[in-house]
Symmetry: C2
Subunit: 100 residues, 2 copies
């Protein structure tokens, strides 16, 4: 069964004042995530019009690898337990790259 | 003055039934956009949970190149005049990639 890569877009609105802590935790999460077997890339972007908005783009070889990421110990310890409570909003979209 | 690359995230919700036409126009817009001097990349993604949602990621060497893109004849003719009227929603975020 051919698998297709998954690209995840996560848009985070960080609560005012929490950005330094979020970036510190994100550094740790990024370092652990890029070591995952199915990770293709993990990039962080900051909005040019709202410093409290980050957009993460993460690539995985397939859905199994993406699921392994969100079930990992580091995702639980860093994202679920520490980063997400520091956010005002979090919007995650799972996509597939398409050729046009 | 050091310039920083710009990454654009454009989230399109396509009106039901318009996806084939949007993809046809997007093919033409993509082909013209990647030829622009300041273009770094132009990728299209389709949501895995809502087929009518596309996320475009576009990279530009700097803000001047990104502005040149939205002021180009092909952006006017294809995006403004034809694609955007076929969308229910359009959310564009200009970002800078950051190291964590």
């Amino acid at each position: 069964m051919a698998t297709t890569p998954v690209t995840v877009f996560a848009k985070w609105k960080v609560k005012a004042g929490n950005m330094p802590v979020v970036l510190k935790l994100l550094k740790e999460l990024h370092a652990a995530s890029v070591k995952e077997e199915g990770n293709l890339f993990y990039q962080v972007h900051q909005s040019r019009t709202d410093n409290n908005t980050l957009i993460l783009t993460e690539g995985y070889t397939d859905e199994v690898s993406q699921q392994a990421h969100i079930n990992s110990a580091h995702f639980k310890k860093l994202a679920i337990d520490q980063i997400i409570p520091l956010l005002d909003e979090r919007e995650v979209t799972l996509t597939s790259p398409i050729e046009v």
